[in-house]
Symmetry: C2
Subunit: 341 residues, 2 copies
DNA sequence: CTGAAAGCGCTAACAG
DNA sequence: CTGTTAGCGCTTTCAG
């Protein structure tokens, strides 16, 4: 029956015949040492008996720290993101923080979403958002809000970030293909306004150059979005070239699946006619036909690193902005094969 | 420079020469009608100029409503969940709520996580958690916390829920197979302590019975978890039976991929030797080899329906607990084929 | 229509 | 070691 509203610190105090602040101290690990052990025990017992729970909103109002972290995601449903998110939330949860996840694609402007998060008093932000136009970042900096980037880096490199080594990843892909004898390698590049797109492209170009391949033999087609359909279109353009590539490396797995689609359209077989390499090692790309050779990135670690970075930022005032770069790994499967030529 | 902390309602009031409560009224859509239009305009202008943002924690403390909703997920990284989550958060965001997502698998007990959410003052909970042991549900009810289930129903059916029609889905699968001439159909059943596992199994059994197939010809193997490995083991057991099935319907796509693995182990070809049907239509199951015939469930809609249900629960006191059931859809791809016999 | 006053639940000085 | 006091930023009576 006693569907009474949540008990407060006052109720506990009354039941123990002590002052509310004593209860507050007894229940706070940091201040517990200021209260007699027997009293503290009595208080804890009473709190348990009453089913007392700390009211974080009240605490936050008082202390100015909410224990809330905002995560801005480009698209929650993107299969690449969940592992990152999981890494973020797990670490944050373990440290007593709760995570508010916002999907940027859907509602309102990013600015707006950030403002709503600020209104909720978030202690910091993890940005996994696609486009790093300065305005959002600037907006956060203006608000003196700790911010870290995940799976992204900003152009100026002024924000802490946790990301995979995109350049090294592309090098892995290109060198694998070159070792297989491929001389004509195309690249389906991701959106150039996001760091993964730009850096992977740069990595591709540097690697093919280092391998001694000419630009003519290493064409690049850029997409506007990381979608399977965009990958298909770009690959079709690549395949229509005078000098047809014998291998294509895509800026991510979704794009690579689009490359598969394009190959099917053209009646070409993978890997027989064209080898394909993806990037990210999304769940189940080992099950597609043929199993996709790809660059595995440490998504969960990335999320965890970002969380750790953010917490450090929140704790220490202005530690030099750190960039955590995670090593990628080549996963060889069935979509790459030695070149016939 | 003025990196001053966030302006409050008081700052705005001072700047306008009015009382803080007037500012509060002017800025609250519901109370705006109590303040002169010109004053309201002046206040809004000043608020904008100062970059004032409402402090939700303070508001929540006062009103008792936080505008926060908790979502308990079994495993964020499970590829089936993101679309549901996205449906939930989008709808909630649009209604001004923020969503705290908690991964149950990782830290602490579910009870604990719920308590932490309660401490944060959530206005309600969406439970997408696997096991519906009464204790968690009871715990929420005791706390008088509005709760809805998504992709799950509780045994007693006392909680509002949004879920796919699992029985109908299995009927779709079985009838498809029967129409193809299959007479020996096995089922890899999901965990029986979660509603999808139990209901899909029930749906399977009812459907094969209605199709006139005997129990001997429709063996069932149950797994303890929705994993690819578990699906593989269960399928191996099914294939080792005296009467080998010519088709297997799995309780979900992950399990179905495990069935693929088992088939490969046994040197059997899908669909030639054994047809396979999945459930859920996870992203990219159209790309595996062979493309998986499956039952598509309306995941995004499910999330949205759950959000709507929860909001209704929060608004209206005790509306009769509603069950939204979404119609599934058979997606025929390459993993099912007419039976030779 | 606007001001005054009180208080949501908690913590952080400051006394004692 | 414990009680007192004040106040975080906001809403909401109650007056006027």
């Amino acid at each position: 029956m006693a569907a009474a509203s949540r008990p407060t610190i006052k109720d506990v105090a009354a039941r123990c015949g002590v002052h509310p602040s004593t209860v507050s101290r007894a229940l706070s690990p940091a201040m517990k040492h200021l209260v007699a052990d027997d009293v503290a025990d009595r208080i804890k017992a009473a709190a348990n008996a009453l089913g007392y729970r700390l009211n974080m909103a009240a605490k936050g109002l008082r202390t100015g720290r909410s224990g809330l972290i905002g995560v801005l995601a480009p698209d929650i449903a993107d299969p690449g993101f969940p592992p990152v998110l999981s890494g973020i939330t797990d670490h944050l949860n373990a440290e007593g923080y709760a995570t508010i996840v916002v999907d940027v694609g859907s509602n309102g402007s990013e600015q707006d979403l950030v403002d709503r998060l600020i209104a909720r008093g978030v202690d910091g932000l993890v940005l996994a958002t696609v486009t790093l136009r300065d305005d959002v970042v600037k907006h956060c900096l203006d608000a003196a809000l700790p911010v870290v980037l995940v799976n992204r880096v900003d152009a100026a490199g002024q924000l802490p970030s946790a990301a995979s080594d995109d350049v090294a990843g592309m090098r892995l892909a290109v060198e694998h293909l070159v070792a297989l004898g491929h001389q004509r390698i195309g690249h389906v590049a991701g959106p150039q306004h996001v760091s993964t797109g730009a850096r992977r492209r740069a990595g591709f170009e540097a690697s093919v150059r280092d391998a001694g391949l000419s630009a003519r033999h290493t064409p690049v087609e850029t997409v506007e979005a990381y979608t399977r359909a965009a990958g298909r279109e770009a690959a079709l353009r690549l395949l229509a070239r005078r000098i047809r590539p014998t291998a294509i490396v895509a800026a991510n797995d979704l794009l690579a699946l689009g490359v598969y689609d394009a190959l099917a359209v053209r009646g070409l077989a993978c890997p027989h006619d064209v080898s394909v390499v993806g990037h990210n090692d999304m769940p189940f790309v080992d099950m597609v036909a043929p199993p996709l050779t790809t660059i595995r990135i440490a998504q969960r670690d990335m999320g965890e690193a970002a969380a750790r970075l953010l917490l450090a930022r929140i704790a220490g005032p202005e530690a030099a902005s750190e960039h955590i770069v995670l090593a990628p790994q080549l996963i060889i499967r069935g979509s790459t094969i030695a070149c016939g030529h």
